[in-house]
Symmetry: C2
Subunit: 246 residues, 2 copies
Amino acid sequence: MYFETKEFLKHISIDSVVFGFHENQLKVLLLRMKKTNEWALPGGFVKKQETLEKAASRVLKERTGLNDIFLKQFSVFSDPNRSRKNPAAKELSDPGSNSSFAWFSNRFISVGYYALVNFSQVEPTPDFFSDRCEWQSIDEIDRLIIDHNQIINKALETLRLQLNYQPIGYNLLPPKFTMPQLQKLYETLLGKTLDRRNFQRKILSYKILNKLDERKTGGAHKAPYLYEFNLENYQKALQNGLYGGW
Amino acid sequence: MYFETKEFLKHISIDSVVFGFHENQLKVLLLRMKKTNEWALPGGFVKKQETLEKAASRVLKERTGLNDIFLKQFSVFSDPNRSRKNPAAKELSDPGSNSSFAWFSNRFISVGYYALVNFSQVEPTPDFFSDRCEWQSIDEIDRLIIDHNQIINKALETLRLQLNYQPIGYNLLPPKFTMPQLQKLYETLLGKTLDRRNFQRKILSYKILNKLDERKTGGAHKAPYLYEFNLENYQKALQNGLYGGW
């Protein structure tokens, strides 16, 4: 594996926040940088004949093994000193380093994408600059390089806003799930607990769920019912919002 | 006025779609390019020590005279051949041109912003590359340079989606307005007519309007009532959506 800087556009990078949901925890995919042992988001640069979307998909395919991840561009991070604020980035851009690392001393405006993926299908794979790639729970993430904590926070803020008008959960939950599981996902994304009855009433009013004639097995005698998403209505709600259009 | 390319980052540009509402028409601010007479969005480049937001504000202050325009980043346009698809851009990047124009032969990834502004406060002002700056009605815009028609369409698409969950109209309408004026704004943004009674019922249910004890003057004997936005509720609805949060 080799990193050839002249293949890429100067001054533009991409960073992706990949969310997964596992054992009732919201997880983010992170990499550990070889030289500094600090953690970072999966990201990369844009080839001279490549769209941004293509670059983001290429990088995430390499990191996760997944094709066709649905990526949403949510913000652009352009503080001129963003990479200089962090000792890890400074270390990376040390002129004594090899030329691949010196590339990092350029100013990069980073375009942020987020993705919601099926946790169990991901095969975390490090890149050229890292020696580890793994999921970390959102509430256990330490200080990341550059402004990557800020990028995660902004992605989460965007998701929280979208929870008010768009459905969520497909991809993050298994095909069949219980109401408590869905509520836990919402609670984790929102960072607060919700009233059980209000949640159920509201989420059912959107008509995006099919209640199955089936209960979760292996539980107590009052096992909760299973649900699945009504994909037709789910897609419509993604298009027009949960409350419909004008 | 002078355009010094070495002040700017390579490969990154910004383009802004500035919407205004005047005489029941949705307008977009456009510039006419000096060399080709083709029309373009107001845009520009990013200085080496400037954030994207700062660059977008700087450019729009120059084009409109307005400070503190609220700009929203909505998409990034990164087709590697976007600037080559258009004869006007080709002409601009002709090597026989002076060096300012040759700058345009670089590949630029353009970050799109949109703004909703008070039509009557804008003083349209051309830039270095243009000889005219003026408002054009959205349904009368001809073929623009590069992918600027696509940028406008994408901005409009984003606005239409937001109409389903966020309030709109502050800045675009005068401080006091009638229900028919507000409906016309929605119809213009959506590109379709709406039922008068349903519109009124729905918009009033959001509690973002104050009905004034005052009718539009100078009209027929059944002049419509005037409304103003309830700014506290309007701001809340911008934050949490028209239907409130979880």
